[in-house]
């Protein structure tokens, strides 16, 4: 598999060689690559992604024009699979032209030189179309390293039927959420309002984000790391209390155990990015009509700010020989209605596009029957406006999140505290960044 890929990308690189040179000069002169391509047939680029529906998108793109041919390879999702593969390929000098990278991993790959600076390649049209809060997450020192596909505000998914049955009002603040948790604990033996996810490092980040936490800060020319800052401590104390007082389950949720808990109606809510509306539909087909979607609870009713959970971007790697064609494909992918339609045709997805103009397309394509006809995209749209833009992901996010989750697993087993887990991740991340030779500061 790998060998074949290597040959293919080598061929692609060879085919694109004169072209790449043309493109590089075209960059500054503003001349069209089309002229060069007219001589050598369509430009071939390679694309790796773990996102479902990518094959459909690539097929639609290849059909839509004849300047660029995209060769697609589905790669495994998750930390061990896809990212390791991308890193290996980059080391060997045969990374694909375009790769899907989730937000938290963008700065890490950028620092390691795997991703190109896309700033000169991004058209004004695209620059304007994408939500600024999304671009802010992929831009460092005024250089943009990837183009956002979706932005996923954290939502509250809740069981309408169970809320009604137990007379629980939709909580608008975290204080109300805690009250609701007490009610469930009292009225429904063996059940809980929610689960504190011990596999939820990225959810914890989303919670901290909402509370105005700032795990990483680059404003002073150094990576200031403060995973356990004041706002985060507030969030942690809140969840620690819910766990200590047995108001919430504590276990991994993106696992068979977590799915079974929901299937057995033992938990009333789930907190995830907007994309999980489709996720719940897929994993709990039997609970059609029982779920509703609501804004995440707020810390105080006056402040509408939310964090995000999930979301992907597209980047061009250093090994790409045809960056113009690659960017053409990326722009089409994130902003063309046909791209979104193709992606949604492969199955249920409720991703919230980072290009605002596509929201009507997504709304129309999404069958909201599962949510009793609720207009969830309008809700997502409102929430996406409140995604606060101060957040910065760190350069070794995979391992930061992993260390937090390792600690949370021990907390689940009765050892230590949530704060302890985060503080350990703080020290470990600092060690990591220092040994990489980055300017660091302990916040």
């Amino acid at each position: 598999m790998h060998g074949r890929h290597r040959r293919r990308s080598l061929l692609a690189a060879l085919a694109a060689l004169p072209l790449g040179g043309a493109a590089a000069t075209a960059c500054s002169s503003g001349g069209g690559p089309d002229r060069a391509q007219a001589r050598g047939g369509p430009a071939r680029i390679t694309f790796w992604s773990a996102l479902r529906g990518s094959q459909e998108v690539v097929d639609a793109f290849n059909k839509s024009q004849d300047r660029v041919r995209v060769d697609f390879e589905q790669i495994p999702g998750g930390q061990q699979g896809g990212y390791a593969k991308l890193r290996n390929a980059a080391r060997a000098g045969n990374a694909p032209d375009v790769a899907t990278v989730e937000y938290p991993q963008v700065p890490g790959f950028a620092i390691d030189g795997v991703l190109r600076d896309l700033t000169p390649l991004i058209s004004d049209r695209l620059r304007k179309a994408v939500l600024p809060a999304a671009f802010a997450l992929t831009t460092f020192e005024k250089r943009t390293y990837s183009v956002p596909l979706d932005i996923e505000p954290m939502m509250l998914f809740y069981r309408r039927d169970l809320f009604r049955k137990h007379g629980i009002d939709l909580p608008r603040t975290w204080a109300e959420f805690e009250d609701a948790a007490r009610t469930v604990r009292r009225k429904a033996p063996g059940k809980r309002l929610t689960t504190f996810p011990s596999d939820g490092g990225s959810r914890l980040a989303g919670f901290a984000w909402q509370a105005n936490g700032q795990w990483f800060d680059t404003r002073n020319g150094a990576w200031e790391v403060s995973l356990a800052d004041g706002p985060t401590r507030k969030v942690i104390a809140y969840w620690q209390r819910l766990v200590d007082e047995d108001l919430a389950f504590q276990n991994p949720i993106d696992t068979p155990v977590g799915v079974a808990q929901i299937a057995k109606s033992q938990v009333f809510t789930k907190m995830s990015g907007a994309w999980d509306a489709g996720g719940i539909m897929g994993s709990q087909p039997g609970q059609k009509g029982k779920w509703g979607v609501a804004p995440s609870p707020r810390w105080d009713a006056g402040n509408r700010q939310v964090g995000t959970h999930g979301g992907s971007t597209f980047a061009i790697t250093k090994d790409s020989r045809n960056t113009e064609a690659a960017m053409e494909f990326i722009e089409w992918q994130v902003s063309h209605p046909d791209s979104l339609r193709a992606r949604l045709s492969s199955g249920i997805s409720s991703m919230y596009p980072a290009v605002a103009g596509l929201v009507p397309v997504a709304r129309k394509a999404f069958d909201s029957g599962y949510y009793s006809g609720q207009d969830i995209y309008t809700l997502f749209e409102k929430e996406a406006e409140h995604v606060s833009d101060q957040w910065v992901w760190g350069p070794r996010m995979t391992s930061t999140v992993r260390t937090i989750e390792d600690g949370l697993a021990r907390v689940e087993g009765g050892h230590g505290t949530i704060l302890g887990a985060v503080e350990e991740a703080q020290r470990s991340t600092l060690s990591d960044l220092k040994s990489l030779g980055l300017a660091t500061r302990e916040g």
Binding site: M1, H2, G3, A84, N88, R91, A92
Partner: protein, 289 residues
């Protein structure tokens, strides 16, 4: 194994002691055998029967359907892993043991400056854990564009310093110096003597080194894990590791992993049973310096 050597008669313990001794030894034998027996029995069970844990019932004997499942899962990639393991282990151990024994023989039969220092370097190779070398090896292989190739695993596993150590001992024990002299008087070349005469005498030692290296390579897990990302190049150990991670979420993989594990231990068990006396001599040569 001299089972007949009894201690002096007065050393024989009384009946009670004898029972206790046999009970203790019997228990330890059960401890080592039962898990393998479990694997054997579990391989005859389908997924549902596995969960019921009445291992001895023969009602749903699924050995053959498990076998065909094993070779059908993911387009029969297990067969490929098995062939890979055989290539890495059998060819690697064959080549590796020849290389090591030749070197050990040279250490024994020839004299040259700094010989013992050089031998010390070989012994250092025994002490340094292979896992420490894996990362730099990976980086080297990646510079050379050899990561994720057959050679990235095959070349490092040839290195067997313990085999050199054994080779030197066996050379001392099996190849009398007079044979070499006689051969030289006959005017035979040094290498001709080695290949025609000495190597034949070193045969049993070579088998021992081969056996040890075969086990080590068949066991190898860290290096393939570091070097390989293409499943088609995986040895069985790495493949089963990946499948086991699937089994955690998809229990359908359990019978397949169990069956795959059983097949994967057969060659080594067969090798050990058939070549019993060789491993014994290797162990004792290695331990009694």
């Amino acid at each position: 194994m001299s089972a007949a050597t009894q201690g002096p008669s007065s050393l024989r313990p009384r009946l009670l002691g004898r029972t206790a001794v046999n009970a203790f030894v019997g228990l330890s034998v059960l401890y080592t055998l039962l898990p393998v027996m479990w694997l054997l029995l579990a391989s005859t069970k389908n997924r549902d029967a596995l969960g019921r844990s009445d291992l001895l019932s023969v009602s749903d004997f699924s050995l053959f359907s498990n076998l065909s499942d094993l070779f059908a899962t993911e387009d029969g990639i297990y067969g490929r892993w098995y062939v890979n393991s055989l290539l890495y282990a059998v060819v690697g151990a064959l080549l590796g043991s020849l290389i090591s024994v030749a070197c050990g023989y040279a250490f024994d039969k020839y004299r040259f400056r700094h010989k013992e220092k050089l031998f010390g370097l070989v012994l250092a190779g025994v002490m340094v854990p292979p896992t420490v070398l894996a990362l730099p090896l990976y980086l080297m292989a990646s510079e050379a564009g050899m990561v994720n190739t057959f050679w990235a695993v095959f070349i490092p596993v040839l290195f067997n310093p313990f085999g050199v150590y054994l080779g030197r001992i066996f050379s001392q024990g099996y190849v009398p110096n007079e044979v070499l002299e006689a051969s030289r008087v006959d005017g035979a070349g040094e290498l001709t003597t080695y290949f025609r005469v000495s190597l034949r005498m070193l045969g049993p030692g070579l088998v021992t080194v081969f056996l040890f290296q075969l086990t080590a390579i068949w066991n190898n897990f860290f290096l393939p894990m570091v070097m390989l990302s293409d499943q088609k190049l995986f040895p069985v150990s790495l493949g089963l590791y990946v499948w086991n991670s699937e089994a955690v979420t998809t229990p359908d993989y359990y019978p397949v992993v169990i069956m795959g594990s059983l097949l994967a231990i057969l060659p080594l068990i067969a090798a050990f049973l058939l070549l019993q006396r060789y491993w014994k001599s290797g162990l004792t040569a290695g331990s009694v310096k």
